[in-house]
Symmetry: C2
Subunit: 239 residues, 2 copies
């Protein structure tokens, strides 16, 4: 019998247990994330964790960023996906090393998988060091926001077709990110998408969030994004 | 020390434990889902679980479906979101009852939450029965696919801006769904989106999948979708 509603159907009330288990897993992940961060710092690598829903344009942003920065920086990519290595293939075509991390069902990357991937990536470089590591998370606006991967900065993408209501509906990822990229801005004319509203909502959740309005098609905002990456990396190297 | 890679950083290998815990939670969810299904059947309600990434157009599809069917069927909606009741408000404006289920961080609905929501929905109807229950899941193409809510059919949306590569990258939701709705078809001219490829990939994972190419803007495919809902409901009632 269900005490909550008295309907006569047996059901479960395991919320407390679930939270305990999750907290233990999150704690273990945090310890591994701290290890990754030390590892990145020792090797002089600046790590960026990129999060978004499926199809917001993470891989396309990476392709554009690699094109713009690969002559001045040594870049590597860890590609998170549930299945397939389609995205790592796309990245390799741009001339930088990429390791595909397939989670086999899991909805986010974790620090242990990133640790293993980073070793594979470094191994493939024959001793040459990286300046910049991009970690493209599994396409998911929810779960990845709970898992620190040891990154220096976290970037979230929301594309114009998804709608301007997403920050209020998915606040955790906004609160834990350093930058928000509004992608596919060339499509704004076809949607009821209010750029000022999404900026206002996102900043109300995270006042220090840096926001870029970008289009891989027209190039809008990409120079500003590259400038941001360069300045963050320079600041990290100076520490 | 890490045996896997010998790098000297302590880290975790808890995969086995995680799987055990998840399987216990999934089993508990399945039991509650079976309860929901009995509940729906006893009350003569046909339940449809709608899954997609954020911003693929679940709520818009519901608005169009309610407009088309509300004079012939008594419809109710459970609206799943992590935060806010924006979507339940949109549905109520169409003149049908809606209960907002906010998961407070969780990335999917579960059967217990649906059970509670269904009671609240029925309570608001003062004894009038529903014919059709839509359960709009949290915007997430991964986690909801693991959780049976007791629905009769599961429908997944993939919008044109997300890209035609999504079935192969997110196979679980394709394998467990009865229908795939390709939404925002009016945008196909602006994207490198291959409708024949997405159909072929999806059918290779799930040969009995019913596929609809739709646009809420032009109305393409909506009559076929309404016909499908009517036929499924009629079949269920005849059993």
């Amino acid at each position: 019998m269900c005490d909550a509603c008295g309907c006569g159907h047996d059901h479960i009330h395991k919320e407390t247990k679930t939270i305990d288990v999750n907290q233990s897993l999150l704690k273990a992940n945090e310890e591994a994330a701290a290890g990754n961060r030390r590892h990145f710092d020792e090797d002089g690598v600046f790590a960026i964790n990129i999060i978004s829903a499926p199809g917001s344009g993470k891989t396309t942003l990476l392709e554009k960023t690699i094109e713009a920065l690969k002559d001045e920086l040594k870049i590597g990519v860890l590609e998170g996906d549930i299945e397939t290595d389609l995205d790592a293939e796309r990245i390799r075509k741009k001339g930088v090393p990429a390791v595909q991390l397939t989670t086999g069902g899991a909805c986010h990357l974790d620090s242990v998988l990133v640790h293993k991937g980073f070793h594979l990536l470094e191994h493939s470089l024959n001793g040459e060091g990286l300046d910049l590591l991009f970690i493209e998370n599994v396409g998911n606006l929810v779960c990845p926001s709970f898992f620190d991967l040891g990154e220096h900065i976290r970037v979230v993408l929301i594309s114009v077709p998804e709608g301007h209501d997403k920050p209020l509906k998915y606040p955790k990822v906004i609160k834990t990110s350093h930058a928000l990229i509004i992608s596919k801005s060339d499509l704004v004319q076809y949607f009821d998408f209010d750029i000022e509203k999404i900026k206002k909502d996102a900043l109300s959740l995270n006042p220090s969030l840096k926001i870029f309005v970008t289009s891989a098609k027209t190039g809008e905002g990409l120079d500003e994004w590259m400038g941001y990456v360069r300045s963050k990396l320079k600041y990290q190297k100076s520490k």
